[in-house]
């Protein structure tokens, strides 16, 4: 009974804010498919703690989403999916090529090449337009970390976007890569 109320509440919240959260998730992962997976994973976690959430759940969902994205959630999720697909005898779907094609000539293409935490900071600061303090709160780090990650991220984007930088492939960063 309580579960169904929580689901209904979350559904009505998503009717209002789902699109916006998904847009952030798409930018955090670099593809539509990845974005939907990320949002879905965040919703599962938030739903498990629904009773403990007071007020607007958007902050919780966003924070969970950013934590997952910055902590290399995708790699873990991919492994999980491969195992479950193996059991059903179906092969894993390819990464979303639409994203790769649509990203041509775009800074978003270069965004994918940043380390995960830098990318998360850039999305928080320049897409969601959160302040440094808000970004730090969402990412669970200090304001100083946000500042340095944003500066490094922008510097790297500038380098990559310069002609002759040789940055042509929209390759995601290594799962083991960490913010320096």
């Amino acid at each position: 009974m309580e579960d169904s109320r929580a689901v209904a509440d979350l559904e009505s919240f998503l009717a209002e804010r789902g699109d916006y959260l998904l847009r952030s998730a798409v930018l955090l992962t670099g593809s539509r498919e990845g974005g939907e997976d990320l949002l879905q994973a965040a919703l599962e976690r938030v739903l498990r703690r629904w009773r403990a959430i007071e007020g607007n759940p958007e902050g919780y969902i966003r924070r969970t989403m950013y934590h997952l994205a910055a902590d290399g959630w995708r790699q873990k999720r991919t492994f999980q999916r491969q195992l479950s697909l193996l059991r059903s005898g179906v092969s894993a779907p390819a990464d979303d090529p639409i994203a790769e094609v649509d990203l041509r000539d775009s800074l978003v293409r270069l965004l994918i090449q940043l380390p995960r935490r830098q990318r998360a900071v850039i999305v928080a600061r320049y897409f969601e337009q959160l302040t440094e303090a808000e970004s730090a709160e969402v990412l669970g780090c200090s304001v100083g970390t946000v500042k340095s990650a944003a500066a490094r991220g922008l510097r790297r984007l500038r380098e990559l976007s310069e002609p002759g930088s040789g940055a042509v492939a929209a390759k995601p960063t290594s799962p083991r890569e960490r913010t320096r």
Binding site: D3, R23, L107
Partner: protein, 313 residues
């Protein structure tokens, strides 16, 4: 937003995510996943078997977050297994694709005509253009290795012609059987149609796709190369036979190819008003049988027409 780079970044991010809408039922789906997870954990706790514990570990590996961490040793094992499996899967996929029979059915608009000619198929020319003998409603096509067969029918299902290309003593040989005038002809040393992408120019230009392009092996490489160099572009998704196919179009928007995102094999090809649906069949005896063209008793042999095949329909 002080610098130009930041402004551009913001604009690009807006543009890239414009039109992204959350599908309905996300909360319900999350609830179902959580229920399944709870059940798995309960089973694992109760049974205590190695297998079930491994399943729980898989679940735990996927849900590690700020609310709790999975045991590192188990995660490592899960990752190693998944890595090996993905490698095996990748290694097997190309071999499977190479060894499939391409079967397709192209539906033509009224007034369309096709004629088998040396080297392929062509639209009738001159006074033959109006000849209803060659009116085609749909065309079936099989391709496997160096063998191909076309069977043309009128919209009402009347057999118009069969045309096959197959090696005879190592020489590609074309055989056409015309049903409406009960004749047939054959011709050796035919210049058989090639793999997709070989029929047009090389390099990074939109290569023309012909409806009589060859068997499966060349398609994934052709599509990948055309996409990666930007000659064709992915323009969306479309569900074909329950598969969320990639929609690939040429710059002029005349050709649409719907491709299986896993195999890069085409599921549907649309060229103007002509629509062609593909199936990819295992090379069993039964599936290979239609590749052979046989001449029915009583049909008279004639000389092949002079006009060479120009292009696909």
């Amino acid at each position: 937003m002080s610098t130009e780079l930041e402004q551009r970044l913001r604009t690009d991010m807006e543009r890239f995510t414009r039109g992204v809408t959350a599908p309905s039922g996300l909360a319900q789906k999350a609830h179902r996943h959580n229920q399944r997870r709870r059940t798995k954990i309960r089973i694992a706790t109760a049974a205590g078997s190695v297998t079930v514990l491994a399943a729980a570990a898989v679940t735990a590996a996927g849900v590690t977050d700020q609310f709790g961490a999975a045991p590192p040793a188990r995660q490592t094992q899960t990752r190693a297994t998944a890595y090996v499996l993905s490698r095996v899967e990748r290694a097997l996929a190309p071999a499977n694709v190479d060894n499939l029979i391409s079967y397709s059915r192209a539906v033509y608009p009224p007034g369309m005509a096709l004629e088998p000619v040396p080297g392929g198929l062509a639209g009738p020319s001159g006074s033959r253009r109006a000849d209803s003998l060659w009116a085609v409603g749909y065309l079936l096509h099989w391709a496997y290795g160096t063998s191909q067969r076309f069977s043309a029918y009128t919209a009402s299902g009347q057999h118009v012609f069969d045309m096959g290309i197959a090696p005879v003593h190592g020489i590609p040989t074309q055989t056409a059987v015309i049903y409406l005038n009960r004749t047939w002809w054959t011709r050796a040393d035919t210049q058989a149609t090639g793999q997709p992408g070989q029929s047009g120019q090389g390099g990074c230009v939109p290569t023309r796709i012909r409806l009589d392009d060859g068997a499966g092996a060349g398609w994934p490489a052709f599509i990948r190369s055309q996409l990666s160099c930007g000659a064709y572009a992915v323009t969306g998704h479309q569900v074909v036979d329950g598969v969320d196919a990639l929609k690939i179009t040429d710059p002029g928007g005349q050709i649409t190819l719907l491709v299986n995102p896993r195999t890069y094999l085409p599921m549907r090809l649309v060229i103007g008003p002509i629509e062609q649906d593909f199936q990819w069949l295992a090379p069993t005896v039964a599936n290979l049988a239609p590749l052979k063209v046989s001449v029915p008793a009583g049909f008279g042999q004639v000389t092949p027409p002079n006009r060479p095949g120009t292009a696909g329909p």
